[in-house]
Amino acid sequence: MIKKIVVLLGIFIFLACGIALADNPKMGGMLVFGRGGDSVGLDPAYETDGNSFMVCDNIFEGLVFYKDESTALEPGLATSWDISTDGKTYTFHLRKGVRFHDGTAFNADAVVFSIGRMMKEPNVKFMGKGWKIPKQERPPEYWQMMEMDGTIGSIEATGEYTVVFKLKRVEAPTLNNLGMDFADMISPTAFTKNPKEFLRNPVGTGPYKFVKWIRDDRIILEKNKDYWDTSGGPYLDKVVFRAIPENSVRFLELKGGNIHICQFPNPADLPLARKDPNLKIISQPGMNIGYLGFGLTKEPWKSNVHLRRAVAHAINRKAIVDNIYHGMGEVARNCIPPTMWGYNTDVPGYKYDPELAKQELAKAGFPEGKGLHELTLWSMPVPRPYNPEGLKVGIAMLGDLAKIGLKARIVSYDWGTYLKRQRDQPSDMDFFQLGWTGDNGDPDNFLAVLFDGLASPSIRTQWKNETYHALMLDGKKTVDQAKRTAIYKKAQQLMYDEVPVIPIAHSTVMWPAVKKVANFKLHPTGSVRLKNVWLK
């Protein structure tokens, strides 16, 4: 008996050691990340593309961080913050002992500079000598797109490690916005030395330091040995972001072991990756939505809800997800991703039912499509994270519409023209495909930005509904998250009833990687954070 216990104990100790060793981070090594294109620039305030942000994610940091695999917030370069009862004053208490890669101390003045430089008319106050804020080379796009000039009134350093943001209006997503890349902290010393060249020589506080950039080839980062957070990584000595434009070549490089992570592979290569004993697939539900919109500025779409509902029940979205998304996604019930807080699980989603669609069509006054001209279905010419093949999706939809008697044809333009003409809501547009990838994990960033047509003529769907508009305004002004959840759930139910668009799918991001790569997690915002990644 004792012998058996000793053997069992031995096995237990052996397994425990194995698990402990396997999970133990290993220091050193070089990770090569293969991606489809080069970065445009590395100044987070002025970039708009994912390939730039993924490098910035490792060089820079913001006041607040998104948690791993979620958009919930946690302290970043600010250890805590207070929000006044009226919701218009945010006081941030900053982390002490942090330095930028060039040795400049991180303090309240650095925050005032980093954020103040994006303001159209900087209303800032430094604690010490501060820095002169240079003239903007070009508009800071994200700052403008998130309407930060309309939100932030002034920024003031009230102590060496205390900053106060005064808001012009109550804007509930403000904290989430400050977690986005554009609000990262930059070294004022490095920036003022040569503002024009900063995007080529970025200096932040992040876990990795910028070393070298060979255009269209590679960006090399090295470990920041003085990183403030000593509880985890950075574990890698070096990180190389390689641009390999062709998807199949990038995958071959992964198979050959020359890169460690392969961004955006061809869907057809994923089964090969699954079979390869040296590879694994890392996946994450994307924070996105692909939808089909209507030409809501004109009849019959503007006021005929039965017609819109007929189309919603006619389209076989599951078949689209299974066959065109290659299963890398899920059929959408709402226009926000299911991983986001505020998602309404009670909304049933439009089921595929051609018979029901025909009944709705009759109720709409167009039995079997009689009385309707040939419809135009605008299909996206480029793959986007939320819709991998717009033209194929469009063709599938044509077939579904024909089954209930609706005749339609595909219309497509080059991407720039598509976006421009869609914005103009031309009379020859009956349906259009479009979508969105979330910025900050707040439902407002989907529901208001995409669908509240009364808020701005720039809203692409141009759905004008008073009740919905009031809900969106309420959502922005309410700080309490439980109350906001109720507001957004109501908004989703209203959307389901009114069918301003048909939510098609939320795609899933799947990147193959070599098994050596440990602890790499995809983030819903698309960030690539390598701080806690190591190579086995």
């Binding site: 620039g41 070009r138 796009e141 024009k196 080529r200 020359n258 080059d414 720039g416």
Partner: protein, 334 residues
């Protein structure tokens, strides 16, 4: 000769002016808005307007063209719309990569193409002739894109002889002086770096060389066949000269003239249109850069890039014309 070279050099100016006008007109009729592409789905009217204003896109096209010409006189190609860098700096970083690749590919094409052509011509209707001409037909027909992937699969993934893509290994560093990596490695006496650069250059150069190699081989063969039938060749043979001497000394010099024209044209095309090879092999060259500029409607990249590529094309042709006179003194430069 000198006046000819000066005259031909000056003729570059009207050529480039013509190129710039054609490009401007093409941009004018092509739909698409760089501001819209830059900002994507997120753009609002306000951000779009600010961006267009900032980029000078609100100006009428002829004003934009005027501004471009004004800058061009000062040898300033402006700043790119997307990367906000001087176009000239971007070209300086990328063009050496394209030139290095094109020179390597051209070397392979000329070396093997001319040899194959000569042997085929001297052994007309032999099995070698048939085989080499079938091979060159295949060479002309194979898409570079497909060939590149096959070369990678065989020589990189399965055999492991060559790297798959890129210009330099991730663990190799060379001091960059001219951006011509072969030259930089030699200048800095970095022999390990030189080996790595040549190692990386091989597969893309082979892929890029197939079409010109096939064309050169076929052209050399037909040109040599024609020359070999001439009377002076018969005379040379009658004098008792050996076959090798007749072919290499008497026939080749005349036979090469049309081949040089083809070489010049092919080289000129490579300098701007190696897009497919550059894309497959992740080669950071100017072809892919201009192509991306077209997709993104980056007018500055398209204008600047095309100007430089067109200049090089004209210069290569000038060199070809001069070479005519060197190879065959009977052709006087007038």
């Amino acid at each position: 000769m000198l006046s000819f070279i000066i005259r031909r050099t000056l003729s570059i100016i009207p050529t480039l002016l013509g190129v710039s006008i054609v490009i401007f007109l093409m941009l004018a009729i092509t739909p698409g808005d760089p501001a819209e592409l830059l900002l994507g789905e997120r753009a609002t009217e306000e951000t779009l307007e600010n961006m267009r204003e900032h980029l000078g896109l609100n100006e009428p096209l002829y004003v934009q063209y005027g501004m471009f010409l004004k800058r061009l006189i000062k040898f300033d190609l402006g700043e790119t719309i997307w990367t906000r860098q001087k176009v000239w700096d971007e070209i300086k970083q990328r063009y050496p990569a394209t030139i290095e690749l094109s020179v390597a590919a051209m070397f392979l094409s000329c070396f093997f193409g001319i040899i194959l052509g000569i042997i085929s011509a001297t052994k007309q209707y032999s099995w070698f002739d048939y085989m080499s001409m079938i091979a060159s037909l295949i060479g002309v027909s194979i898409p570079v894109f497909w060939l590149g992937l096959v070369l990678m699969l065989v020589f990189s993934l399965y055999l492991g002889w060559f790297p798959m893509s890129g210009r330099l290994g991730v663990d190799v560093d060379i001091e960059i002086i001219t951006n011509f990596y072969v030259l930089d490695a030699i200048l800095t006496r970095n022999w390990a770096g030189l080996r790595d650069v040549i190692w990386h250059l091989t597969l893309p150069a082979v892929a890029l060389s197939t079409i010109p190699l096939a064309i050169i081989a076929r052209m050399t063969r037909s040109s040599m066949l024609e020359v070999l039938r001439q009377d002076y060749i018969k005379t040379a043979k009658a004098k008792g000269l050996g076959q090798t001497k007749v072919v290499l000394k008497h026939a080749l010099r005349n036979g090469l003239i049309p081949v040089i024209t083809v070489i010049g044209l092919q080289f000129g095309i490579m300098l701007g249109a190696a897009i497919l090879t550059e894309t497959v092999f992740a080669w950071p060259g100017v072809g892919k850069w201009i192509f991306d500029g077209v997709v993104k409607r980056d007018y500055m990249v398209i204008q600047g890039g095309t100007m430089i590529v067109a200049s090089c094309f004209v210069i290569v042709n000038l060199v070809v014309d001069v070479l005519y006179a060197v190879i065959n003194p009977r052709i006087s430069v007038k």
